[in-house]
């Protein structure tokens, strides 16, 4: 075995550098392809400056859990956002914390119930009022099974429809048949229901009485349950001969909580759909 001990090995010609067992060194660099293998690199010693921009492909990244998202934790280190449940949305946790998947906020109102009735005596919605809401919106499109009837509403207490004479309401109506316009009013004070449309509703399924009711404080035992409605409807016969617009408001005088609401026609059965929304208190 021979050993060479020198301080400097210089190239013989500037074009070739120096070759040692097939590894060529030239101008202070290893120039032989694939001459540096993984084992020659010290562990944990590749700095970010050694990696070119846009060089890390998805395939180069370590596998993770399906559905996770990459984020940064409070220390600024990469972290995974755990996979949420179906329908959840990515929700910020504010500064200093990674986001998480959570249920969507849902806006200012929640849909609590949808009722669709076909030729029934009434459409009743009961048991959906909670302390989460002081006010409720009912959106309706209903028509009578027989013409010349009025759309009316009753409250429910303890699950039972109330027919006591504690209903008070007043309303205005606008009628127009293409040539004649009329304004009228209707009211009840000590009635057994709330009116929300005046006389002569059509039974035409294409022309339902459509509108919305704001129902307030149904669960209160210190304030009366009140309502306001705005509706469009149509005059009998079928097809309708005139359009009608109604605005009504009223109250039920009682300190007993209202548990539900009942839509019906005074002179016959009802058809249609009513949706109950809760208006969030906060």
């Amino acid at each position: 075995m021979s050993e060479i001990k020198v301080n400097t090995i210089s190239e013989r010609t500037s074009a070739n550098g120096v070759t040692i067992d097939g590894v060529n060194i030239k101008d202070s660099k290893l120039v032989t392809a694939d001459s540096v293998v993984t084992a020659n690199v010290t562990d944990l010693n590749i700095t970010s400056g050694k990696i070119a921009d846009d060089a890390i492909t998805l395939a180069k990244m370590a596998p993770g859990t399906d559905g996770n998202l990459i984020t940064y934790d409070a220390s600024g280190n990469p972290a995974a956002v755990a996979t949420g449940s179906a329908g959840q949305v990515l929700t910020s946790a504010g500064a200093g914390a990674p986001p998480t998947f959570a249920a969507a906020g849902g806006g200012a109102m929640d849909l609590l119930h949808t009722a669709t009735g076909s030729n029934v005596s009434s459409i009743d919605i009961n048991g959906y009022f909670t302390s989460d809401y002081d006010h409720y919106k009912l959106v309706y499109a209903v028509y009578a099974a027989t013409s010349n009837t009025d759309t009316i509403v009753r409250i429910m207490q303890g699950g039972s429809v109330i027919t006591a004479s504690n209903y008070r309401y007043a309303g205005m109506a606008w009628y127009y048949d293409g040539s004649t316009a009329q304004v009228s009013n209707a009211q009840g004070f000590g009635s057994s229901y709330w009116g929300i449309s005046s006389m002569d509703n059509t039974a035409d399924s294409q022309s339902p009485t459509t509108g919305e009711m704001l129902l307030s404080n149904p669960l209160s035992t210190s304030q009366n349950t009140t309502f306001t409605t705005t509706s469009v409807g149509y005059n009998s016969p079928t097809p309708p001969s005139a359009i009608r617009v109604w605005t009504y408001a009223g109250t039920y005088v009682s300190t007993t909580a209202t548990s539900g609401i009942s839509f019906l026609y005074d002179g016959g059965n009802v058809n249609g759909t009513i949706r109950l929304y809760g208006v969030k208190n906060s």
Binding site: A115, V120, S122, G268
Partner: protein, 70 residues
């Protein structure tokens, strides 16, 4: 004929008591409607007779329209 209501999306048969009350209510509504229709006819008749009396006094249709809107 059996009568039904829709309660929280379920079609529920009315009790005998509810059905009796409902039938009575429909009958009352029919009576009110007939009264309304009779009153409407009477009102129309009075409008027509009043208009005719104004015409008999010499007012033309435009003058009557301006005065009472019919």
């Amino acid at each position: 004929m059996t009568m039904y209501k829709l309660l929280n999306g379920e079609r529920v048969e009315l009790t005998a008591e509810e059905e009796t009350a409902r039938i009575a209510e429909i009958e009352q509504a029919n009576i009110r409607r007939q009264a309304r229709e009779a009153a409407k006819v009477e009102e129309e008749n009075k409008k027509a007779s009043g208009k005719q009396k104004l015409k008999d006094l010499g007012l033309d249709d435009d003058e009557i329209q301006a005065l009472i809107g019919v």
